[in-house]
Amino acid sequence: MNNENDMRRKHGTDRANDEPLQPTRRQFLKGLTTGTVAIGALTQSGCGPAIPPLKTRGATATTTVCPFCGVGCGQVVSTRAGKVINIEGDPAHPISEGTLCSKGAAAIQVVNNPRRLQKVLYRAPGGMAWEEKSWDWALERIAARVKETRDKTFQTSVDGRVVNRTEAIACLGGSALDNEEAYLLVKLMKTLGLVYVEHQARL
């Protein structure tokens, strides 16, 4: 049986005397530059298998912002060999300070998820199932459909006034698009003459 002393396994050798990464809630990472930072590349005292090595040890860390609500919490994505191995809060972020909600904390399941759409899918008119297609095929086919519809329904003028629009094509989305993506979408769709352009701001 164990006596009291054996109940506490001593740590083996000295712990590495490194500056803590996330020491207290309100201290911040120093010297983070834009780009990647190697976090977790610390040596660790041998404590046996009961305490495994930090799973993000030696991983590459990239900063991003949570994809869910409009608070804009910072996240640190740890990757190894091109795969995401951990996503948690960014302690250096002034608003979130390393915290996240249940959705943000689950963010790794957005990227590492077998249910993710992985191929271009196509459903023919009246079809019963998806077919897989290539990007090139899909973009050309979509462009052809857009042109067909636009050419058939385009109104250059109405009652003598120039209108240059089509009311037969609509574009919805998206409030999770980056600014650059949203801007290009507006630029393209309004150039094509669409007036039905909307997104989740009303929803």
């Binding site: 000295d14 207290t24 915290t99 689950a106």
Partner: protein, 271 residues
Amino acid sequence: MSTPTVKPKAMIQDNTRCIGCRACMVACKSWNDRPEDHTDFFAGNGYQNPRDLDANNYTLITFNEIVTGAQPDWVFGRQLCMHCEKPACASACPTTAMFKTDLGPVVFDESRCIGCRACMQACPFIIPKYDYESFAPKIHKCTFCADRLEVGLEPACATVCPTGAITFGDRDDMVTEAKRRIAAAPGTYIPEIYGLEEVGGTSVLHLSSVPFEQIGYITGLPKTPMPDLTHRWLRMTAPVFAVLYAVFGALNWIVRRRMRRERSEGEHSAG
């Protein structure tokens, strides 16, 4: 080699700040790579899901509706391993798979765990859970993210909590802080720190605005550490056996001597 003084860590779970968002449950699953739960509907009160801690959930938020007159209230509590100062689970464990470390966590070496579940029987907080789904079942419980503590990080739950309901630091500081909060806002807190003295003290100090039994906590626990209750008796095993050995050994020696004498007397008389 000299070891630098290691200050044990502790956590404050301040339920007056908890909003029941369950980021802690997800962050824990994420860090510990636990799989998801499968239920049809909420298994506990309100949104509580699953109903209890299990092999896949090392921490759990309890949802408690408390109505006073016409005024409803929703109070949240949290269940997780208390990382006792003198853990009963470690004491009961026959293979020393469970043990308390200097930094505070009661961790377990999975490779030593034989799934005997003695820890489950011993724990006064009913924390360790058994992996009933597995062919080689082991025990599961919160490890205080001992791997994170090793490198100066905080546990995943403490890191993720949006409201500061979970605070982490040196145990002395956490005890002081818990007491300070109660003193500073007596109308907000009941004057009790759950985990300060229970079973000899633990590393998780809970604060609440309502009595703990109303939010799913096990109350009425003794202040004596669980191992001490048995230790009092078990530690006498060696001396008792030593005495018994001595007594029976002595009796044995006396009896044998008499038997030898009787035999030699018999031989003489046969002459």
